[in-house]
């Protein structure tokens, strides 16, 4: 075992546990358990808000999968990855104050709470809670596989043992600390991701003998490595541009990201988060993917993309520094998983159980249930991740696209179009998820664009069409909704 690398990682885990214990104090003293456990009582300041958004969004694919692909494809993949810059400012400005204000008017704790009040429909709630549980569960499994592989790759532990360590670490602090623990650990993890990115990029540039040197090495191997079209010229401008939908603007529809847009304390905090979030996401995405490309001349011939990051870190940095840098992908994975874990729990407890199974449950019961549901989901994911499916990045993107197609319009149109109603939302969710699965299976990358594009367009069409067709039927409910959500 490489102790130089392992010790900084252990330190990292210890810090994370302390944060969990710190946050658990708030959980014990909070008057409203649900608001605290699932939303941190809407107390996030600007810096923590920015970091938890970036860290939740930045995942195994930004730190492990993405740089691995960049290694093979070249600068074209960095170009594609920079479409993610938009997530830094778009989500917060578009959901923005309106989402935060509306969520407060109805005391919403989850995205589904908002949809429930906005559309007043049982089916909207059931469909959206189901999509969250199914899609985010699989996303979580993919992330756990990534986390365990990472631990495995630099500690030499067996995959199952690594998975076990990873699972226990995340479960403990999420269960004892809830959303506040998740947000604060996300902040620590985000800081590690930010500085880890800079260190590894600089280390790789130095090891490669400077940028000019690296670029000419790449061009000598294959000129297309430094073109925007990718090493085999398969990246068309249309395909690359379609990622603006998948990882740029579509991120608005991801529940784990959207829920953070109602967790902040004040509009000043939101303003700061816009700036900090954009800078942090820009630096991380550019730095990590560029490192993946630059690793090629430094460490040629790596076959498995996912090992590029750990191997380049151990190659170009002294062991202790590599340990700190390798805490970054670990942090990225943990900070995504912890949010997903909490979100899936909230979908089960708040959106399903408290809405339809037992609305009268006592505070004590809700508390016990929330904690045990989180634990059970964690254990289930662990069991699924033992037999790991390959190609982490694509698994992750599947859940991603499905959720975006389901939620983007019910959320955005729900906020900004008063005529949008329950029929529109149901049609939109069904069309979005259904067509995504169909396109994914039978016509992947239709017309040369990423699979997500057409389902997103179709679900918009369905939303508008069905809302307009059923104006009469929803007239009374819409009036009540307007009173509740829009009136001063």
């Amino acid at each position: 075992m490489n102790w130089g690398v392992v010790i900084p990682l252990l330190l990292f885990l210890v810090i994370i546990f302390f944060i969990g214990f710190y946050a658990s104090k708030y959980l014990k003293s909070s008057a409203d358990f649900l608001q605290e456990y699932f939303l941190g009582s809407r107390q996030l300041g600007g810096f923590i808000l920015a970091m938890t958004m970036v860290a939740t969004y930045g995942s195994a694919s930004s730190f492990v999968g993405g740089p691995g692909v960049a290694y093979t494809v070249g600068l074209g993949w960095v170009l594609l990855s920079m479409t993610q810059l938009a997530t830094g400012y778009f989500v917060l400005s578009v959901l923005g104050k309106k989402f935060a204000i509306m969520a407060r008017k109805i005391r919403a704790v989850t995205l589904v709470d908002f949809l429930k009040e906005r559309y007043q429909s049982k089916w909207v709630v059931i469909l959206s809670a189901a999509s969250i549980i199914i899609f985010l569960f699989s996303a979580m499994a993919a992330q756990w596989v990534g986390g365990a592989r990472l631990i495995e790759s630099f500690t030499g532990l067996s995959y199952t043992a690594a998975l076990f360590i990873f699972a226990i670490s995340v479960l403990v602090y999420v269960i004892i600390g809830g959303f506040r623990a998740v947000a604060i650990t996300d902040t620590v993890q985000g800081i590690i991701m930010f500085f880890g990115t800079m260190i590894i990029l600089i280390g790789t540039i130095l090891a490669g003998g400077g940028i000019e040197n690296i670029i000419s090495d790449l061009a000598a191997e294959n000129p297309d490595l430094i073109s925007p079209y990718g090493s085999d010229r398969s990246l068309t401008p249309l395909y690359v541009s379609s990622f603006w939908i998948l990882v740029g603007v579509g991120v608005v529809g991801l529940p784990q990201v959207a829920v953070r847009a109602m967790s902040y304390k004040s509009s000043r905090g939101m303003h700061r988060a816009l700036i900090i979030g954009t800078v942090v996401v820009g630096v991380i995405m550019l730095g990590m993917h560029l490192t993946g490309v630059f690793a090629r001349p430094v460490l040629p011939g790596i076959e498995v993309g996912d090992t590029v990051m750990p191997r380049i870190a151990m190659e170009v940095l002294p062991a202790w520094l590599a340990g700190i840098v390798l805490a970054a992908p670990m942090a990225a994975i943990m900070s995504t998983v912890d949010s997903l874990l909490l979100l899936v729990s909230s979908a089960v407890v708040k959106d399903v159980y408290l809405n339809y199974v037992n609305p009268e449950a006592s505070t004590k019961k809700v508390k016990q249930l929330s904690i045990s549901v989180t634990a059970v989901i964690g254990i289930l994911v662990f069991a699924m991740a033992i037999q790991p499916p390959d190609l982490l990045i694509w698994l992750n993107l599947f859940a991603f696209g499905g959720l975006e197609a389901a939620f983007i319009w019910p959320v955005i149109m729900g906020l900004y179009w008063k005529k949008g109603n329950a029929s529109g939302a149901i049609a939109s969710i069904l069309t979005g998820v259904g067509s995504y699965i169909l396109f994914h299976s039978f016509m992947p990358q239709a017309f040369g664009m990423h699979t997500v594009v057409l389902p997103v367009l179709l679900s918009l069409l369905a939303y508008v069409l069905f809302s307009l067709l059923t104006v009469k039927r929803h007239e009374d409910i819409q009036k009540q909704v307007f009173q509740k959500l829009w009136s001063a």
Binding site: M82, S93, G96, K97, K98, P223, S267, H271, G282, S487
Partner: protein, 93 residues
């Protein structure tokens, strides 16, 4: 402020709607610059590329310069166009 007029829209939404449009405008600007530089400078043959700080010019402009420019635009937008409003009912900060 709650009971006055049930049909009057919350005045904070006007500000919120404007800021959402600013977000959309930023994405449009971001996309056009990113696309224009990448394929404007990068679609020729690699042998004819210009280089800036060691990077191919298309990459330097579309991925590095545009990113920095967007940082600046976001800062300017937040400082000059975004307004602070209280988020809770009647709770001034």
């Amino acid at each position: 402020m709650k009971q006055q007029d049930k049909n009057l829209e919350d005045p904070r939404y006007k500000i919120a709607n404007k800021e959402a449009l600013i977000g959309v405008a930023l994405v449009v600007v971001n996309f056009i610059l990113w696309y224009g530089f990448a394929y404007g400078f990068g679609s020729g043959t690699v042998e004819e590329y210009d280089y800036i700080f060691g990077f191919p010019a298309w990459f330097f402009y579309s991925c590095i310069a545009v990113t920095v420019l967007i940082f600046l635009l976001v800062i300017l937008a937040v400082k000059f166009l975004f307004k602070e409003v209280p988020l809770d009912e009647g709770d001034e900060e």
